[in-house]
Symmetry: C2
Subunit: 434 residues, 2 copies
C-alpha cells in the first residue's frame, strides 16, 4: 500500500555520521522532487466532516414531519428562547445535565461561546463585581496545543493569553492553579475536555475536579468547557466526559463552568444545533441577555433534529456510523507515519481514541518548513503555530493533521507526502546544525 | 356583524353635559360588565404571523432538494460566511443592492442588529475613532412610537435614548438633524422605514435623503435601518422603500446606514433568514467580526429558501398570498374602531397600508387603564408605553394593536372589547376631570 519505500534504516537521524546524513538528505530530496511531480491537490487543514458522514443524516433534509412539538407548540413561529424541550431532553441525557440546565441554540457553539464572552465583557457574570470590559486587563489560560479559533476570539477582544501544557490527562492542572491563584486578571480558561483539539487527550475526573475546585483570585473565573467531541469516539473504548458541572457544584463553585456542545459533527457542520449547559443561575443569566438579541432559536431545526435522533440512544447509534467512516482514516494516518517515521527520532504523534485530529510534533524548528514544503507539493496543512495563541509555536514543532474530510486514498497520499516533507525538513535542519 | 350596539350619538364625549356623561359612563360600565361575562381569552400583543400565513410556506419543510448550491458547494458543511449566493441574489434584487453588499445570516435580524451594536461597542465602526464602549456616553435617537425590542436592547447596553416624533412621512428629520448636529455622543438612530412598527408610516425619499446627508457631530453616526416590513403590503398601493444606501453614498456618507431585513414574516417567524445590507466597507467590517464568532451560517436553510422562492418575483407573489390572509383582519380593526369610536373625540388610529400593526391613540392618560381593563376582560394587549423608550409614554396615550395572529372572528371580538375598554376608560377619566 505504501507508495514510497521505507527509509533503509530506522536509526535516529541525529545519530547518523555526516556522510550518512548527506545520503539520507539526498534520498529525501529525491523523494520530495518525485512528490512535487505528482501535482497533488489535497487539503488536511480543517476538522470538517466528509461528505460520506454528512450523507448519514440525509433523512434530515426531508424533516420535520409536521410543525408541532410534543407540547403542541407551532415551531414555525416566534418564541421558545431556551430551545425545543424534546431536543433538550435528548442532549441533557447525553451531557448528564437536567434539561432545565440546557439551552438549545443556533447552528454554532462558537457563536454561543462568543456570545457568553460578549455578555461577560459588556455586563459581567452572575458572580462578577463589574463588566469584564471595565477591568484593566483580562487574561485567559490556554492549554496548548489548542484550538485556533478559541485563541483568535480572545485576541480579537484584546484578552491576554497565557499557556499551560495539554497532557494525556488534560491541562496541567497545577500549572493552571498557580496562574489563577494570585492574579485577579485571570478570568477564564478554555478546555476541549474530550478528545481535545488537536491533542486528542481526555481530561480526567481528577484534573476536572482540581480545575473545578481550585481557588482563584478572580471571584468570577469561568471555565469555557468546549465539549465539541463528547460523543465522537474512534474506538469501542469510549471516553466518558468528566462531569464538570457536578464537580464545580460540589466544590461550591457552581457558576464556574460554561459547557458547550453541538451537532456540527453529528448531523451537519453548517446546519446543526449548538448547546449550552450551565448552573441554573448561569442559564437564567444567559437567557436574560439572549432575550435582548433573539425572539427564539430555529425551532424547526430543533424539531428536525429531535425527530431524526428520536432518543439519546439514536445519537449514540449515529456516532457509531460516523466512526465506521472515519476510524479507517485515522488508522491510515497511524500506519503511514509509523512506517515512514518511527524510530528516526524526528517526529512523534498522537493516536487519538476520538475527535477529529492527529497532533504531530516534528523536529524542533521545522514545523513551518514542513508546512511550506507540503504547500509547494500541493498539500494544504493547518499553518504551523495555529494551535498556539497568536499563531506562535515557541518550538516551531506542532502540526495539526485533520484526516476526516478527504477520502481514504487521499489520506494515504497526503500522509505519504507529509512524511516526505517531515523527513526532508529534518535532514535540512540537521545538516545546517552540522 | 357588530356584537355591541354603536353609541347612541357620535358627539364628542368631552362636550357632553354632566348628566349625559353619566348616562354615557353607565352605558360603558354595563357594556364592560357584559364583556367580562363572556370570559374571552384573546391575545393582540405581538406581531406574529398567523398559522394560516405559516401554512403558505408548508413546502419549505420538505426542502431542500439535494444539498448542493448552484456553485457546487455542499451546503451541509462549514463555510460560506456571507451566505448562499443564490439566496443573496434574490434578496439583493428585492432590496435594490448589489449581492456583494448583502449578507445572509441566521434566523433573526434582531440578532444581526445586536451583533452590529456589540461590534460597534467593542471594536468601533469603520469610521470610529475608538470603540463606542470607550466613549463616556452614547445616545441614540428613537422615533416614537417605535419598536419595544429596539429600545430594550439600547437600555440593556446603557445607551441613552432621546425621542423624535414618527410622522406620516417618517421620523421628524429636522428634529433628528438638530439632535445630531452638535452632540458627538449621538452615535445612531433606529428607523423602521417601511410600514413602521407601530405607526405604519413610510419614510419618504425626502426624509431619508435628509437623514442620509445631515451633518453629525459624531464621525461614525449609524442609521439602523430595520426594514422588517419592506415587502409586507396590505393594499395594491405598494410602498417603495427609500434607497438609503444610495442616498447615503451620494451624500458622501456611505457607511452611515446599516440595513436589516428578514424572512421572519415571509416564511417562518422562527426559522427564516435575516439579511444585512451595507457599504462594501461595512460588509467587510461585519464579516471580519463575524468570522471570529461563526464558521458560517445555516446554508441548508438558505438553500431551502432559495429553492422555495425561486426568484425575487417568487417572494413578491408569496407576499400577495400573505396579504390575502391578513388584509381582512386590518379591515376589521378599522371597521370596528370606526363604528364604535369615530367622532367621539376620544381616540384616533392608523390605517396602515402595510406592516403588522395599528397604532391606537386614546384619550391622554388612559392607555394604561385601557390595557388594564382589557386584561381583566381576558384580552392581552401590548403594555401601554411599550412603544416608547423605557416603556414610558409621556402622554399615556398609545396602544399598539397586533391583529395578524388571531383568526378573523377573534379580531372582531378583540376589537369590540378594546373599543368598550377605550370608551369606559374615557368616561372614567372625563368624569374625574368633572
Amino acid at each position: 500500500m505504501t507508495e514510497q519505500t521505507a527509509p533503509a534504516s530506522h536509526t535516529p537521524v541525529a545519530e547518523l555520521a555526516p556522510e550518512q546524513l548527506e545520503a539520507f538528505a539526498q534520498e529525501q530530496r529525491t523523494a520530495y522532487a518525485a512528490l512535487r511531480e505528482k501535482g497533488l491537490k489535497l487539503d488536511l487543514t480543517r476538522g470538517k466532516p466528509a461528505p460520506a458522514q454528512l450523507d448519514l443524516a440525509e433523512e434530515l433534509l426531508a424533516l420535520p414531519h409536521g410543525h408541532v412539538d410534543a407540547s403542541g407548540t407551532d415551531v414555525r413561529n416566534y418564541g421558545g428562547l431556551q430551545g425545543l424541550a424534546e431536543l433538550r431532553a435528548i442532549f441533557a441525557e447525553l451531557l448528564h445535565v437536567e434539561p432545565s440546565q440546557l439551552v438549545a441554540a443556533g447552528n454554532s457553539s462558537l457563536t454561543l461561546m462568543h456570545d457568553c464572552l460578549v455578555d461577560l465583557l459588556l455586563h459581567g457574570g452572575v458572580d462578577s463585581p463589574r463588566p469584564w470590559s471595565q477591568e484593566e486587563k483580562i487574561t485567559f489560560v490556554c492549554p496548548v496545543p489548542g484550538y485556533d479559533r478559541h485563541f483568535a476570539m480572545l485576541e480579537h477582544f484584546g484578552i491576554d493569553m497565557v499557556t499551560v501544557p495539554m497532557r494525556e490527562d488534560g491541562p496541567d492542572a497545577e500549572a493552571v492553579a498557580r496562574l489563577v491563584a494570585d492574579d485577579p486578571s485571570v478570568k477564564g480558561m478554555w478546555i476541549v475536555p474530550t478528545y481535545a483539539n488537536p491533542a486528542g487527550s481526555v481530561t480526567t475526573q481528577e484534573v476536572a475536579a482540581r480545575l473545578a475546585s481550585m481557588e482563584t483570585a478572580a471571584p468570577d473565573f469561568k471555565i469555557f468547557w468546549d465539549n465539541a467531541y463528547a460523543f465522537h469516539h474512534l474506538t469501542a473504548d469510549e471516553a466518558k466526559s468528566a462531569d464538570i458541572l457536578s464537580l464545580a457544584s460540589a466544590a461550591g463553585k457552581p457558576h464556574r463552568p460554561l459547557v458547550f456542545a453541538s451537532t456540527s459533527k453529528i448531523t451537519y457542520a453548517g446546519a446543526g444545533v449548538a448547546f449550552l449547559a450551565a448552573s441554573p443561575e448561569n442559564v437564567a443569566w444567559h437567557l436574560g441577555h439572549l432575550g435582548k438579541r433573539s425572539i427564539g432559536p430555529d425551532k424547526v431545526n430543533h424539531l428536525r433534529h429531535a425527530q431524526f435522533f428520536g432518543s439519546a440512544q439514536g445519537v449514540r447509534d449515529h456516532m457509531v456510523r460516523h466512526r465506521e467512516v472515519i476510524a479507517p482514516k485515522f488508522a491510515e494516518v497511524e500506519r503511514v507515519l509509523s512506517e515512514r517515521l518511527d524510530g528516526l527520532g524526528i517526529a512523534s504523534w498522537t493516536r487519538p481514541k476520538g475527535g477529529y485530529f492527529v497532533s504531530l510534533d516534528v523536529l524542533d524548528g521545522t514545523a513551518s518548513r514542513v508546512v511550506e514544503l507540503a504547500k509547494d507539493a500541493g498539500i494544504a496543512l493547518t499553518p504551523a503555530g495555529a494551535s498556539f495563541p497568536y499563531g506562535k509555536d515557541p518550538g516551531d514543532r506542532n502540526i495539526r493533521l485533520a484526516p476526516t474530510f478527504p477520502v481514504l486514498a487521499e489520506v494515504t497520499a497526503a500522509m505519504e507526502a507529509v512524511a516526505t516533507c517531515v523527513l526532508l525538513a529534518a535532514a535540512e535542519s540537521l545538516q545546517r546544525r552540522g
